[in-house]
Symmetry: C2
């Protein structure tokens, strides 16, 4: 292998694909990046893969001799990031050698690599189901649900976000058992195609649950690409592949049937309160200082006098109360929540006002934006408080 490329392009590619390199790999080669060079296309391709998540990117270079090698990811990343910006960098590997010679203007580095033959293949899926997704809608769906997924590895399917693609609708949902975030994007031109033989009807739909850890990386990638018109998605046999102009991300999906969350959302609510979102967030952040000393429980007392009292008690430490202007006419209600769940839901809502809908202090409440733009529902279970 013999290539010359720009420091900045090599550096960007390394930073990108090293996100898929495991911090504690099960096999030495998995702490390496795969570098391949093609003298016909004059392209270099870099791959990081932890057996669950895989990222591949390619860019233009001067390739005098094709080849492939794997290079320790962290070492290569540190060296290249410190080389002078925009200066040319050459990488040379002799035939049948695993020694990489990296040269820049000023000096040279010899790094011991591992032959590429042992590097696992990325699971390319280009059969099965394919569809096109709009990067900005997908990104919104991700941001508004991902925080509600569970961090508890034993909760399996709940450690991911569920996506349902159906005609022009993308429905995304995540829950950790205490709260649930659901968003509907209606304006998708999904361009669904099913290449498998056994499913040809027009009522086709696809439900996949993607691990949160993979989604955090996909989120970063899609964020950079949100000016592109579409990203292609392929699904087959427990693998999802996202393909954009010069990048490929593959991820294992979480197998199983995602819980039927829609049955958790009450059909109707007897009490609906309207708050200013930012005022609500600021009050909760202050009250949270006291709440977080013990149980993280914040109490909301709703009256028809135009104010809601938001309060928290921390025994032997202190207590706090604020009054928040609220639009409401109806019966009094005292309801308590984990303040963290409320804040996380409110922070992803972009509308000026928010509606809090509930029935009893023991039944699920929902937060929804007070606009007609986003179809977002955030369900939170109240906390029982002894009075």
């Amino acid at each position: 292998m013999d290539i010359v490329c720009k420091q900045s392009e090599l550096n960007n590619a390394i930073q990108l694909v090293s996100r898929a390199v495991a911090s504690r790999p099960t096999h030495p080669i998995l702490s390496n990046l795969l570098v391949t060079a093609d003298e016909v296309t004059n392209k270099i391709s870099l791959t990081g893969f932890d057996l669950n998540l895989g990222i591949q990117t390619s860019f233009d270079a001067t390739v005098s001799q094709s080849g492939a090698i794997t290079i320790p990811s962290r070492l290569l990343s540190e060296i290249v990031s410190k080389l002078p910006n925009e200066s040319p960098v050459s990488l040379t590997v002799e035939e049948l050698s695993d020694n990489i010679l990296l040269k820049s203007e000023r000096g040279s580095f010899n790094i011991k690599g591992i032959p590429s033959d042992d590097y696992p293949k990325l699971p390319f899926v280009e059969s099965g189901t394919s569809l096109e997704i709009d990067p900005s809608s997908f990104l919104q769906a991700l941001k508004m649900t991902i925080f509600s997924s569970s961090n508890d590895e034993s909760k399996q399917l709940l450690t991911g976000v569920n996506f349902k693609f159906k005609k022009s609708i993308l429905e995304s949902a995540a829950t950790d058992g205490h709260r649930l975030a659901v968003i509907l994007n209606n304006d998708q031109d999904l361009n669904l195609q099913d290449n498998s033989d056994d499913l040809k009807d027009s009522d086709f739909n696809l439900s996949v649950t993607i691990p949160t850890r993979s989604l955090r990386e996909i989120e970063k990638l899609v964020s950079c690409k949100s000016h592109e018109n579409s990203i292609k998605l392929f699904y087959d046999k427990g693998q999802v592949v996202f393909i954009s102009a010069n990048q490929i991300i593959t991820t294992r999906t979480l197998e199983g049937t995602y819980p039927n969350y829609s049955q958790l959302i009450p059909d109707s609510f007897s009490k609906v309160f309207k708050f200013n979102k930012n005022s609500f967030i600021e009050s909760l952040e202050r009250i949270a200082v006291l709440a977080d000393q013990q149980s993280s429980v914040v109490k909301i007392n709703l009256n028809d006098d135009g104010y809601a009292s938001i309060s928290a008690d921390a025994q032997d430490i202190g207590n706090a109360e604020e009054l928040l202007p609220v639009t409401y006419s109806g019966e009094k209600l005292e309801i308590a929540f984990n303040v963290k769940y409320l804040l996380e839901g409110l922070r992803v809502i972009s509308s000026e006002n928010v509606l809090l809908k509930c029935n009893l202090s023991t039944t699920p409440a929902v937060l929804v934006p007070d606009d007609n733009i986003t179809s977002f529902t955030y369900l939170v279970m109240p906390v029982q408080v002894r009075s």
Copy 2:
């Protein structure tokens, strides 16, 4: 106690004094801040004290009733930092009560405090030796030495920086046994005064060693105050007190005679090399990537061909070499250093070029700025390398 003050002023004062609050206090009251209010002067004073380091600051407020109380530092800090900026905040404590009522525009907080009687007194030293120091010279002295002090608590005196005040000279030094940083500031108008009876001669000098941990806080404080003309320093019985317009910092000193470091610095050098400082730093940072894989040792090969070779070897991982332009005529020399020590010394030097002076590959080398502005000497012990 009954006071009203601005959120921003209270918040700044809390952030400042809480630096002196221990993270794991030996007694509950030491995790609190002392707040005192004086209705005669209309001033509030806040104090944090971990028995070694003490910080006190005061600011104007409306004091309706004098009083004193201690309040949990972290809780108060979190609450006040989240209150609306510039809005008024009131603090009220009933007579004989330890319950603080904090009110802002929107809501109220009750916090349980501890009576101020049990809070330890700051060691005010206003007798003994006093002198005035120039904040910017003192800050420079601090920045150029503090990094060389030892982190190893068993090294006692070496965990601090030694300051020698003598006539118009401030000499500061720190060493951890592997390297030594010394800076002389000549243009001090120290205004030395010795109020004790037993020392009246004009040849007076003061040597104090101040713990690095205290100095890091003093550095922050002096940084904010560097536009002031002078800071007063008092020293007596193992305590140093720094006094500026409205702040007081007290710190215990490290007792004992600081090592006679000047005898470590060779009188003459047979080899002197001149480098561009930034190029040297950048090369070392790249070579350090390889060096830090194992021993952190970097080798410098000096020739009279106009270049120095900087290299590192990490067995089974790789090696690296760069050529750095250097001004030198003389014998060849190979000398090796811990790359961290070289980099830390170079980073505090502000001159464009740096001189590396040495005799043998086994005797101390020094780095000095190639200018006539700063009298700074950074001594580093070379590392023995088997060839």
